[in-house]
Symmetry: C2
Subunit: 217 residues, 2 copies
């Protein structure tokens, strides 16, 4: 890959900063040592016809590289990982992909659901009634994941691309103490977030938000 540009939202409110999914791609690129530029799309422009030509669902991230456009954080990260032993050693390809899908399709749904309840729709009456059951569903997944992580530094022992997806998924409930309830999981997330590549990705994403912040009235 060369001439890489990553698309993210120009600005999001503080509760969402550090959670938007372009962070995953930035992190993977930092781990792989691949330089990239940032491109910003206004969150209100995401359904414009121009941007829909880039991404059919009007979401982020999109990665442009050498005239090609790629969508979906999972697929983009897999493509980067195929070229980078730090992210996916040859002998762990299928296991890495399995845990990438586990992060996005088995763990993310219940955690994202709680994020919606607490952060996106918290002014709607149904959320109060729904929340206790939604928290139970999160605990169920976190307990299973924590049991898996006992005695493992990362999902597959050593760090892989799957940890990028799992750690960023776990961050969707950073507004709660749910991860901290599970000691192996809590250590795991801290270990992931302490990686210099994660810190660099977070800084680059945040720099865009500072630069593009709406002017106070």
């Amino acid at each position: 890959m060369k001439d890489i540009a990553v698309w993210g939202f120009a600005w999001v409110p503080p509760f969402a900063q550090g959670l938007v999914r372009d962070l995953r791609v930035r992190w993977a690129l930092e781990e792989a040592g691949l330089p990239y530029e940032s491109r910003w799309i206004g969150i209100d422009q995401r359904t414009s016809e121009g941007y829909r030509r880039k991404h059919p669902f009007g979401v982020v991230p999109v990665l442009d590289s050498d005239g090609e456009t790629m969508i979906e954080s999972g697929a983009i990260i897999y493509a980067i990982a195929e070229q980078c032993d730090v992210l996916m050693p040859r002998n762990l390809r299928i296991e890495t992909l399995a845990w990438m899908f586990a992060a996005l399709n088995t763990v993310e749904p219940s955690l994202w659901n709680l994020f919606v309840i607490d952060q996106l729709k918290n002014d709607e009456a149904w959320t109060t009634l729904r929340r206790p059951g939604a928290v139970d569903e999160v605990r169920d997944r976190l307990a299973a994941l924590s049991a898996w992580l006992e005695g493992r530094e990362y999902l597959l022992g050593r760090f892989t691309a799957a940890d990028i997806l799992m750690a960023t998924v776990l961050r969707f409930v950073r507004h709660t103490n749910l991860v901290a309830e599970f000691s192996p999981l809590d250590s795991y997330l801290k270990r992931c977030e302490a990686r210099p590549a994660f810190q660099a990705a977070l800084r680059n994403q945040a720099a865009g938000y500072v630069q593009n912040a709406p002017v106070a009235a």
Copy 2:
């Protein structure tokens, strides 16, 4: 792959029959012309210690092949597709994977949410309040997908593994008329479901439910 066995739930109620995710793997194997056996796990045994050793989250599908265990429908299907041009031609690898992730991480969440509301939790009071917004979210994704499918027989023009995931995701709202509201989408789903491999997969899954049905009191 050889000596393939696919794990699914032994029996589920009629509203869930034809929706459990082992169907995806059966469909992919049928498209690839790979023979397989069925293994059944009681839905109440899925959190047992024995089954957790097979699948950390206690869900299905699991694929056993030649002594190896694989989890996550997305990853299993990608592994099958790598060996089968019908499911993933070499020149469409990244695009196929992108649309596989789009099905599971961009489209499935809102459709699964409506399935939960209408089919799994419909005796809970919050669902009445939540439903209108949830339907809007489904329509938003379906409209974008339908626009993409205009003039395309399948997601990438020709059939790929991504269509297996997308079609099975669309089936989560089969209890509504939402897919039928979008003509290109409606034709697409019917086209996918008419494939002989889909029909064979559905028959094999249903045969297990007949064989394992609970005895009426």
